[in-house]
Subunit: 476 residues, 2 copies
Amino acid sequence: MTAPRSAADVAEWADEADVIVVGFGAAGTAAACEAAGAGADTLVLERAGASGGAAAMSDGFVYLGGGTPEQQAAGFDDSVENMRTFLLAACGPSPDEEKIGLYCERSLEHRQWLVDRGVEFLGTVVPTANGTSPIDGEGLMFTGGENAYPYDELATPAPRGHVVQGGRPGGKYLIRHLTAAALAAGARTSYDTRVDRLVTDEQGRVVGVIASRFGDEIAIRARTGVVLTAGGFINSPEMIAEHAPSVHVTALRLGTEGDDGRGIRMAQAVGARVKRMDAIECALPFNAPRSLVHGILVNRFGQRFVNEDTYMGRVGQAALTLAHGQAYLVVDEEHYAPNWLNVHATWVCETAEELEREIGLPAGSLASTIAYYNSHAEGGNDPQFHKRTASPLKPPFAAFDFRADKFVYAPFTLGGLHTRCDGAVLDIDGEPIAGLYAAGRTTSGVAAQGYASGLSLGDSTFFGRLAGRSAAGEKA
Amino acid sequence: MTAPRSAADVAEWADEADVIVVGFGAAGTAAACEAAGAGADTLVLERAGASGGAAAMSDGFVYLGGGTPEQQAAGFDDSVENMRTFLLAACGPSPDEEKIGLYCERSLEHRQWLVDRGVEFLGTVVPTANGTSPIDGEGLMFTGGENAYPYDELATPAPRGHVVQGGRPGGKYLIRHLTAAALAAGARTSYDTRVDRLVTDEQGRVVGVIASRFGDEIAIRARTGVVLTAGGFINSPEMIAEHAPSVHVTALRLGTEGDDGRGIRMAQAVGARVKRMDAIECALPFNAPRSLVHGILVNRFGQRFVNEDTYMGRVGQAALTLAHGQAYLVVDEEHYAPNWLNVHATWVCETAEELEREIGLPAGSLASTIAYYNSHAEGGNDPQFHKRTASPLKPPFAAFDFRADKFVYAPFTLGGLHTRCDGAVLDIDGEPIAGLYAAGRTTSGVAAQGYASGLSLGDSTFFGRLAGRSAAGEKA
């Protein structure tokens, strides 16, 4: 049940605080830092036994730009306007111009805020890497296809994927620092406490939550605001079927048990508005080792569908949506290597005709695709998809089975509550719901669609901060 | 504003009825027939000056099957199970099994219900037509790709698009009869009355509506239920941007001014759940005259993306989503004819290379596609997309500009309120919202995605009936 409870029906408040933060991941730790830092008595309720959420499973990229010290040290020019131009193109269709604008304007400030809480970055650049997992010593990477078509023609390519330093996985390190900062700021925590529904007063204002703690139902009052930072809905089969069914074929999902959409639903139950519930991100780790990028990805019709050397999160989205999760990576002997996850090729053949037969692709389709691709790749060109690193494929060939039910697609959801930049959760008419705030993947954020690695940690922490301040009663 | 008003804040009820039906299109006329027929004092509120809605703009297909008299007269075998098999495959991913099941089981009964209200059908078959607009004398057509790959392999092809007879456009004729039937059953009407929000009592039950009539705000009480049959949201730019941005490029939209999503939003404002808000239907009238089906459709990469001889609504969906609204129809001289809308080819060239250059497709891409297509079409085959009518294209070539901002794409929305088969509007937890019912494109219906012409009139009238009965207090 996520339906709200009337405050009049609450017999006893088990606890109370100025601000209740629901969920202690990237957005929740940031919100708690700021709410507590603003002087609000802040109580974080986390359903797991520790902070982390999906953020702790991540590699620890934070998408920052506009001329960070790391970008400068590595010799890259960037500006707020350049970053904005890229994100507006990369995070649509229908990008959230307001969130993107503010996120870019305050990117340097947000980096400093993270640094002030002990988060370290490193400026080593691996300019050819498009969002693959960083290896030790790699600190600043192209994580959104900034250096690939068409973005390299729209904006000056600048790497913005800032990898946090100090431990792997980076997300865990980031969360550790932000958790410590939230506690240092005075936030209280209650773990193993799952919030199930909101409590509203007679005017519809959110004044608390109903939670389960060790099997007991408890009510906790919020004097100034509730901040929902409870993750997305990738682990709700029902919500996936109703909103983002393209994901139903994947063998894996990127999220914790908590990413069951409860935060979104309990807000909807008090009239909150959602947007872009169909949007998913899905990075496909096909380009590590990077020699595999030399190959071509084809769909079940034997056709290419994306420039293989762009950001692998864009490749994964394309593979899952445009190719309906049925993709194959065809490489040649010279560039063959097992995938970084030690996945080997499923098929090895002397000719394209033999390979397409083995895979089960339409007769002649792969041979036609390779012949056409090679005819231009000889000159380093790819008039169709503008792969900047095109070069011919020579037999013998091998192919990896990248179908979504066989391979490591790890999608997560991008859609969620429609919030204002200050974290206010909007109702169906676009008016703030009094007392209710949200950030992170419980909301639709900087990436309404599209994506770049580091955007979710980035916008979760940034807008988490704003939501925390708003809930504490300060205007952003 | 769509936020609900508390009944306690209603100073005066301008009118009252047992059942209020909001919107007088296909679903609304059917709901009014049944609510009034069940003995309920039924008041229909319609924002336009007459009944009709988007249904009156349609060609008047009703998707019926399972062995109708028209199917039998035309010599086609069909069964409930065969129809269900087709719809489960054609109306997904994540098809609504419950709605499809009931719709198929009661298809013969629903046909008779329509016939009993004066709606006539005709059994002439045009078996090659896949959902193009009927010409006089065509009465029963393949309108969902039943006779095209892959559906012809999954179920026995049976035409189910039953065209109403007696006038063109057929939708207007259908509405005329159902309007008359609703009035004959005793329904009252108030035109030029736009419902803006719901009225709820202290328990959250829907007990009325707030409407605008000639500039005045009035409250109308519903003693047993409100039925929302207020159309979809294709004419809400804001909702399109938030839920179905793939549509943003089309020059046209199929719907009335009333299809602004208000019915969906006012229900959401009382906690209703929505599903498949991203799903759209978009028929592309490219296959009339039918000789144009001989051509091939290519995307901006010069690649084919669909079997051109399937249902043109499926082709349109593919063109708008998979091809991002950027499609070109390439035909040869022998099969060239202006489009039925008298649209002529934009480009005429002697060779594929010249044509791809003129259109601006990647160098060599169209030539490669045609060469590959022809190599199999010589034998009548299309191993890639399984076009059943494949035959080679011979120069000279012509191409129609079927880009969505240039051509007649007329999308409408399929997503909406999550209702039970009996019309009950469900809340976020899946529980019925007391007093609230819905049908038609205000809801997600038989076609959660995918489509077949006649499904919207079909499910709107069928589930409109059930919703009307439920609101009148009878269990379905």
